[in-house]
C-alpha cells in the first residue's frame, strides 16, 4: 500500500474519532457509577470492585470458589460444550447440506428442536446425568485439577452443546448449499470426483459461513452458560458466584462477575471475528 500523506492523516483521524466517540458511553456509565456508587447501599464503589478484580484468586468470604477459578470453570464449560457442538454441527451440516435424503430426514426434527431454549433441558439433564462430570469420567485423582474437572458437569456441557449447535449447524447448511453451481461444474470438467469437489470447492466456499456460525455459536454458548449457572444444583461458575454474593449483599462481587462476563464475551467474539476475517478475505469484493 502506498498511502499518501493525506490518506494517512485521515486514517489516523478516523481511528482517533472511532476511539473518542466509542469511549463516550463507557465514560458516561463510569461517571454515573461514581455518582450513584457513593450514595447507594446496593451499588458498590469502584475501588471495592477494583479490589476484587485485582486479586482474582483470593478466597472470597462467600460459599463460592474464587473469581479466577469461577471464571475458569465457566470458560471451560463453554469451551468444551462449544467444541463438541462444532465437532458435531459442522459434519452434520455438511451431510444435510449435500445429501438430499439426509436433509429430508433431519430438517423437520431440527426445525422443531431449534426454538427450544437450551436451559429448558437442564432440570431433565441433571436428573439423567446426576453428578457425572468430566472429573468422574476421567477418574482423576484428588488434585486441584480434579476439583476443577469435577465442576465440569456433563448436564451443563450438554446444555452449552445444545445452544451452540444450531447456529453452527444452520450456517454450515447454508454455506454448503449456496456454493455457485458454476464452481462445481468447473471442478467437474477438470475431472474432480464428488469427494474432491466437496474438499476443494464446497468446503472452501462454505468456510466463511461456517466460521460465522462458530462465532455466533460461541456467543450463544456464553449466554447460555450464565443462564444455566443460575439454576439450583450448580455449585460453581460466574453466575453461581453472582447468586451467592447477591444473597449476602456483597455486590462488589456481583459487579466484578458481570464485568468479567462482558469482557470474556468480547474477547471470545474478537478471536473468532479475526478468524472470520481471515477465511473471508477472498470475499472482499465478491458481494
Amino acid at each position: 500500500m502506498s498511502g499518501s500523506g493525506t490518506t494517512r492523516t485521515s486514517t489516523v483521524r478516523g481511528v482517533a474519532r472511532k476511539f473518542v466517540l466509542g469511549a463516550l458511553p463507557p465514560l458516561l456509565v463510569l461517571l454515573a457509577w461514581v455518582h450513584f456508587g457513593s450514595r447507594s447501599a446496593v451499588i458498590p464503589s469502584i475501588p471495592e470492585v477494583a479490589r476484587v478484580l485485582a486479586h482474582p484468586f483470593a478466597e472470597p468470604d462467600l460459599d463460592s470458589l474464587s473469581l479466577g477459578t469461577s471464571t475458569l470453570v465457566s470458560l471451560l464449560r463453554v469451551l468444551i460444550g462449544f467444541g463438541l457442538a462444532a465437532a458435531t454441527a459442522v459434519p452434520l451440516g455438511i451431510l444435510v447440506g449435500r445429501v438430499r435424503i439426509v436433509r429430508e430426514i433431519f430438517s423437520p426434527i431440527v426445525e422443531m428442536a431449534r426454538p427450544i431454549c437450551p436451559v429448558a433441558w437442564l432440570p431433565l439433564l441433571i436428573v439423567i446425568f446426576g453428578r457425572m462430570s468430566v472429573g468422574t469420567l476421567l477418574h482423576g485423582e484428588a488434585s486441584w485439577r480434579h476439583e476443577l474437572t469435577s465442576q465440569l458437569g456433563v448436564a451443563m456441557i450438554v446444555v452449552i452443546w445444545w445452544g451452540a449447535f444450531f447456529p453452527i449447524f444452520v450456517n454450515t447448511v447454508h454455506g454448503v448449499t449456496h456454493v455457485k453451481t458454476l464452481y462445481q461444474e468447473v471442478a467437474k470438467t477438470c475431472g474432480a470426483s464428488r469427494g474432491l469437489i466437496l474438499l476443494h470447492v464446497v468446503l472452501p466456499a462454505a468456510l466463511p459461513s461456517i466460521v460465522a456460525g462458530l462465532r455466533i455459536g460461541m456467543g450463544t454458548g456464553w449466554m447460555v452458560i450464565v443462564a444455566a449457572e443460575f439454576f439450583p444444583g450448580t455449585r460453581s461458575g460466574l453466575a453461581y458466584m453472582i447468586t451467592t454474593a447477591d444473597e449476602v449483599g456483597r455486590h462488589e462481587y456481583v459487579f466484578a462477575c458481570i464485568l468479567v462476563i462482558g469482557l470474556l464475551g468480547v474477547l471470545l467474539n474478537a478471536v473468532l471475528g479475526r478468524l472470520e476475517d481471515r477465511v473471508g478475505r477472498w470475499q472482499a469484493r465478491e458481494r
Binding site: V186, T189, Q283
Partner: protein, 250 residues
C-alpha cells in the same frame, strides 16, 4: 486417417421446461472435429450452442445419439479444458492456485503442478499476476487465467463458450490474439462458441452454424493467417458468410 478428436452422430437433447413441456434443443446433430482443428460454432442465442458444449464435457447427459470426445464418452476420458463466458475462477484461490487446481486434483505433485501452471500463465501472458486474487483482476485478465486453467486441465481439447462475450473490443482483440498464438504453438483441438460472425471468421479453420438444433450451414475458412479484418478478402468472406447464415433455413 487419424481418429477424430470429437465425433458426434445423431445427437439430440430434450429438456422439460417449468411448464412441463418438452423442448428440443438439439435434434440429430452430426459433427466431426479433426485433431488440431479450430472450429467455431455460430448461432443465435438459445440455438443450442451452450448445450452442445455441456454435452461434450459430460455436465449434461445427452437424450440420444453417439458422442465421443478424445475417443471416450464425455466426462469419462481425459478431462477437457472448458472456458465459460462469465468469470469462473475460484474466488478463494489466488491466480496460480486456480491454474494448479486441475493438476493437483489429478495427483500431480505440488512442485510440478506449479511449474506447469506458471508455463500456462506465461502462454496467456499473465506471468506477473500469479499471486493476485481473482477479484483484483480485470475481466480480460480473469479470462486469461481461466484459459490457462483450462489448458492445464486438458491439453488436447479446449472448449470455449463465448469466452470474450463480456469484454470490451480492445481486450477482446488482445485475447483473440493470445488464443490464436497458443493454438498455433500447441495445435490443440478448439471448439469455440460465439454469436459474433466476425470473431468466428477471424479465429476458425471451419465454421458451423447451428439453427433449430442442427447444423444449417458449414464453411471452411481459407483466409491466410494472420487474418486482417480490414482486408478486402476478409470483408468479402464476411459478406458471404452473412449471406449463408441469412439464407440458411431455420
Amino acid at each position: 486417417m487419424t481418429e477424430a478428436a470429437i465425433e458426434i452422430r445423431g445427437l439430440s437433447k430434450t429438456f422439460v421446461n417449468e411448464a412441463g413441456e418438452e423442448v428440443s434443443v438439439l435434434r440429430g446433430l452430426d459433427l466431426t472435429v479433426a485433431p488440431g482443428e479450430f472450429l467455431c460454432v455460430l448461432g443465435p442465442t438459445g440455438g443450442g450452442k451452450t448445450t452442445l458444449l455441456r454435452l461434450l464435457t459430460g455436465l449434461t447427459p445427452a437424450t440420444s445419439g453417439h458422442l465421443r470426445v478424445g475417443g471416450s464418452a464425455p466426462g469419462r476420458g481425459d478431462p477437457v479444458g472448458m472456458v465459460f463466458q462469465q468469470n469462473s475462477l475460484f474466488p478463494w484461490r489466488r491466480v496460480l492456485a486456480n491454474v494448479t487446481f486441475p493438476l493437483t486434483i489429478r495427483g500431480i505433485p505440488r512442485r510440478e503442478a506449479k511449474a506447469r501452471a506458471r508455463e500456462m500463465l506465461g502462454l496467456v501472458r499473465l506471468g506477473g499476476a500469479e499471486n493476485a486474487w481473482p477479484y483484483e483482476l480485470s475481466g480480460g485478465m480473469q479470462q486469461r487465467a481461466a484459459i490457462a486453467r483450462a489448458l492445464a486441465a486438458g491439453g488436447e481439447i479446449l472448449l470455449l463458450d463465448e469466452p470474450f462475450g463480456a469484454l470490451d473490443e480492445e481486450t477482446r482483440r488482445a485475447l483473440q490474439e493470445v488464443l490464436l498464438r497458443i493454438h498455433e504453438r500447441r495445435r490443440m483441438t478448439v471448439v469455440f462458441v460465439t454469436h459474433n460472425i466476425e470473431e468466428a471468421l477471424l479465429l476458425g479453420n471451419r465454421i458451423v452454424v447451428l439453427g433449430g438444433g442442427r447444423i444449417v450451414a458449414e464453411e471452411r475458412v481459407r483466409l491466410p493467417r494472420p487474418r486482417d479484418r480490414l482486408s478486402p478478402e476478409f470483408t468479402e468472406a464476411l459478406i458471404r458468410l452473412r449471406r449463408v447464415i441469412g439464407l440458411a433455413p431455420r
